[in-house]
């Protein structure tokens, strides 16, 4: 009896559609390879990596980290709202999360414009090759995450979710938290550790 109660209290599967978690695992695996490749390539070129890391705008990266963390927290608030059936409140938190995501894209876009204006490309050197490819790959994930959040917010605004059926909100939230999680590793690895 106590086992049955325990099984009910502690679910076996994470929130959202299980398919998104398979996708998340695949994405995390790809980024793990990227992160390891960066670290081991740096191992053979520490002076080059330290020199060009110093050219990055750490202040912009701080703003972006704060934006993504805050966005993730707003998504948490959206999930909390829909779990008690507050669809409009859920949509409002999602709009705020999307706004924070757009801040990230704007700041990152400004950084890219600055680098490209200086003639920096993927072939400038190994550091910039990793910096541009890693951050741009993540940038594309932010865009995809925003599209997902937008679709979920629009459906929530129309009352498409309620306290009993809100798998879509949790699925979008799980993906967005993964985007945040990846940046939490990328930020110190590329901008700070030397």
């Amino acid at each position: 009896m106590s086992t049955a109660v325990s099984a009910t209290a502690e679910p076996r599967y994470p929130p959202g559609d299980l398919a998104i978690w398979i996708f998340i695992l695949a994405e995390l695996s790809v980024f793990a390879v990227f992160f390891a490749a960066y670290a081991f390539t740096r191992m053979n070129n520490p002076d080059l990596f330290n020199t060009y890391q110093a050219t990055l705008d750490r202040g912009a990266a701080l703003i972006n980290t704060l934006a993504l963390i805050t966005s993730s927290y707003f998504v948490v608030r959206a999930v909390a709202a829909i779990r008690v059936g507050e669809s409009l409140r859920c949509a409002r938190w999602l709009w705020l999360a999307i706004l924070m995501g757009l801040v990230f894209l704007g700041v990152k876009g400004f950084e890219y414009a600055h680098h490209f204006g200086q003639g920096i490309t993927l072939s400038t050197n190994r550091f910039y090759m990793f910096y541009l490819s890693l951050t741009f790959f993540h940038f594309m994930h932010v865009i995809l995450g925003l599209v997902i959040l937008l679709a979920v917010a629009l459906k929530a605004r129309k009352g498409g979710y309620d306290e009993r059926e809100h798998t879509g909100v949790e699925t979008g939230a799980s993906y967005w938290h993964m985007v945040d999680l990846l940046w939490l590793i990328l930020f110190p690895l590329v901008y700070v550790m030397r």
């Binding site: 599967y13 390891a36 998504v75 945040d180 939490l184 030397r194």
Partner: protein, 90 residues
């Protein structure tokens, strides 16, 4: 309402911790702290932040079974690889 509070309160605390650790990481960079110890401390902070996001924001905290550990295993893996590379850096 209680259910929502039970979910939100720890997440709000986690949010504050994430913001604080982010400023600490930024400060390490701005102070120009470098070397293996500083790098590994910053990495440990990032891994801890990732663990908090996985457990509380992604909702893995209350699970039973293998899904409970996926993010922690991923963090341990990349943390180990990055630590190894930085430790072996001349």
């Amino acid at each position: 309402m209680n259910t929502r509070s039970a979910f939100l309160r720890p997440c709000t605390r986690v949010y504050v911790i994430l913001i604080a650790l982010t400023f600490a990481t930024f400060a390490v960079g701005e102070l120009g702290l470098s070397g293996l110890t500083a790098s590994l401390l910053v990495l440990a902070s990032a891994l801890f932040k990732g663990h908090l996001v996985g457990d509380f924001f992604m909702g893995l905290h209350g699970l039973r079974g293998p899904w409970r550990w996926v993010i922690l295993i991923w963090l341990t893996l990349i943390g180990g690889l990055i630590s190894l590379a930085f430790t072996l850096t001349p």
